[in-house]
């Protein structure tokens, strides 16, 4: 055993409780400790990921009760991959916001970092837990952290955004509870593997109703249309790095929950088509909404939603290739969109309105940030040789292999729309004249490092996608093999039976 998945949850919790205490003694610790915790989580998660890629899945039981009875954590290639990705992004966001100018002098700084850490911990929990009610709890942890972070800046419209988020979030948790109630009433169990194992026993009517409520509950977190009204607001009003965290962490957790349902828990084949359709609708609505945006972050938010739609389309293809493509897309999106948010947040740092027109001509004044933004824009629209291209290619290949030619066409048409609005911004950055009342904010060194790390990952994956493809292949294999998942979870439990 190389590590324990439970530590990924327990250590941040411990730290969260500790920070207020230590913070009274040593002020700097409120900023530093979350970073250390995230670093520890990153190391631990990465080493476990290496282990599970080459060996078997790590399954950890909690409180000593075997699988169907107790809660268990599953660190499989899929969940491990996503968890590592989220923790990595959490770390990057921490690095970026460490001594972020805005919150450095504020008392809530300590809260900011606690919430950030808990956001990551909650998202990791969503991914690695093997119990649906436990997942619900982690969704709530993530959501509350997200509400708080969205409303972090006073004096903006952030409370409004947060309230919308909260309104939708509580609808989501209601729907989730109803769905859990239905499942429990029929199957008498809450363990995912056990549910998946017994799902064939469940009456069809209940099964579908439960699935629908799950779709609504998790769909709100995963930003599918029409449940994503909160998302643009939240992305826009949250601090820049938090937008990155939303795009890279929270949504990914939602998507994971969704696909776990569709692929593992429920055996309804039509739900795949549903994913494709809802994904396409999300993609089209979001991307077309982005084209006329005049606020930078809002545009990025819509783009992020659109990309999630594309992820759902890729998952909905339903083959191992499709899953691979979708995971690849998630990976790339999780790297690129945070980069865009981070660099974008510096581009419009001192502006009140955060308008796109305010980035005019910043290419000369903040060259590296602008370059990274441009790199991100190039990558996200799928231009080779950057990483986004390979995932787009994988998606299209997978779709083509299933004969979904119309879908390919639609996805590509939407990509053109994407190009239009991203390039408009890039053009403004580089080829317009800066207006005099825009005050340039140079990024701090730590923020710069964070962005450069993301940028270099884009280049590395772009030039050699095979660096990550082995993990992605393992992960997609893991998701596709429901039986293996069930057997793994249930058999580990048996071996520990008292």
């Amino acid at each position: 055993m190389v590590g324990s998945p439970v530590l990924l949850i327990a250590i941040p919790l411990l730290a969260a409780f500790l920070i207020p205490l230590i913070g009274m003694i040593w002020k700097e610790s409120v900023r530093l400790i979350p970073g250390l915790v995230l670093a520890f989580m990153l190391v631990s998660s990465a080493s476990m990921l290496l282990y599970v890629t080459n060996n078997s899945t790590i399954i950890e039981t909690i409180a000593g009760w075997q699988a169907p009875w107790g809660i268990n954590l599953v660190f499989s290639p899929l969940t491990g991959f996503l968890a590592t990705l989220m923790i990595f992004l959490g770390f990057i966001v921490w690095l970026f916001s460490y001594r972020f100018k805005r919150n450095v002098d504020f008392e809530p700084a300590k809260k900011y970092f606690i919430f950030l850490m808990m956001l990551v911990a909650g998202a990791v929990g969503i991914v690695i837990t093997g119990d649906i009610f436990n997942q619900f709890v982690f969704i709530e942890i993530t959501s509350i952290s997200a509400y708080a972070l969205t409303a972090f800046y006073t004096g903006r419209n952030s409370a409004e955004a947060s309230f919308k988020y909260l309104l939708m979030g509580s609808l989501s948790s209601s729907a989730l509870l109803i769905a859990i109630a239905i499942i429990y009433s029929q199957l008498g169990t809450l363990n995912m593997a056990d549910i998946a194992d017994k799902m064939y026993l469940m009456p069809t009517g209940y099964k579908i109703t439960a699935l629908i409520f799950f779709f609504m509950g998790i769909g709100i977190e995963a930003e599918i249309f029409p449940l994503n009204g909160w998302a643009p607001d939240a992305y826009t009003e949250a601090p820049g790095p938090i937008g990155a965290a939303f795009a890279g962490i929270v949504v990914k957790a939602g998507v994971y929950a969704m696909i776990r349902l569709v692929f593992t828990l429920f055996d309804i084949p039509n739900s795949m088509q549903f994913l494709v359709v809802i994904g396409l609708v999300t993609l089209i609505v979001a991307e077309t909404s982005a084209i006329k945006q005049d606020k930078l972050k809002r545009m990025l938010a819509y783009s992020s939603i659109g990309q999630m739609g594309l992820v759902f389309v890729a998952f909905g293809i339903g083959t191992a290739e499709g899953v691979f493509a979708a995971l690849f897309l998630m990976l790339n999106h999780a790297i690129i969109k945070p980069l865009l948010f981070l660099s974008g947040s510096y581009l419009v740092f001192n502006s009140k309105e955060k308008k796109i027109s305010e980035v005019n001509g910043l290419g000369k004044h903040m060259p590296i940030t602008s370059l990274l933004f441009a790199l991100g824009a190039f990558a996200i629209v799928g231009l080779p040789p950057f990483s986004g291209f390979w995932s787009k290619l994988s998606v299209l290949t997978a779709a083509a292999n299933e004969g979904m030619i119309l879908i390919i066409a639609l996805v590509l048409i939407v990509s053109v729309v994407e190009i239009v609005y991203y390039f408009r911004v890039v053009n403004r950055i580089y080829f317009f004249e800066k207006s005099d009342n825009v005050v340039v904010q140079k990024p701090r060194i730590n923020a710069m490092i964070a962005m450069l790390i993301l940028g270099s990952i884009i280049l590395v994956i772009g030039f050699d996608p095979d660096i990550v493809s082995i993990y992605l292949h393992k992960a997609s294999h893991d998701l596709m093999n429901t039986r293996e998942y069930i057997d793994n979870v249930l058999s580990i439990g048996q071996s520990l039976t008292k």
Binding site: F133, V137, E140, S143, I144, Y147, A148, A151, T154, G155, N157, A159, E160, A161, S162, F163, K164, L166, L167, G169, S170, L171, S173, S174, L177, I178, I180, A181, Y184, S185, L190, P232, D233, T236, E237, S289, K292, Q293
Partner: protein
Amino acid sequence: MNNELYEILRYGILGGSILLILIGLYAALTKRSLIKIIIGLSIVDGGIHLLLIGIGYVKNGTAPIFSPGFENSTANMVDPVPQALVLTAIVIGFAVTAVALSLVIRLYRHHNTLEIDEIKNLKW
């Protein structure tokens, strides 16, 4: 407890829970005051908790507590799991409500109103 009474009780609980959910949703969807919307959401939560309790109920059930004198009544005990879940759900619901109310305070500070229709600075 005879069968009919049990049925009535069960339908009462479930129907009541559905009614609560609908009432809560109605409030959340039509009321314009933020406070009322939050109240609506709380009612929805209450309905769902009732639903959860309802599904764990068994005929002639007793509380799942092995107090002295009840050690052997396992067969009649109601399902303890939904109750445990409800406990968790209530706390979470409470936490969300608290955050919601604090947001309402912030919104009132910022907009000087509680009308949800007028809090539309972010759109499109």
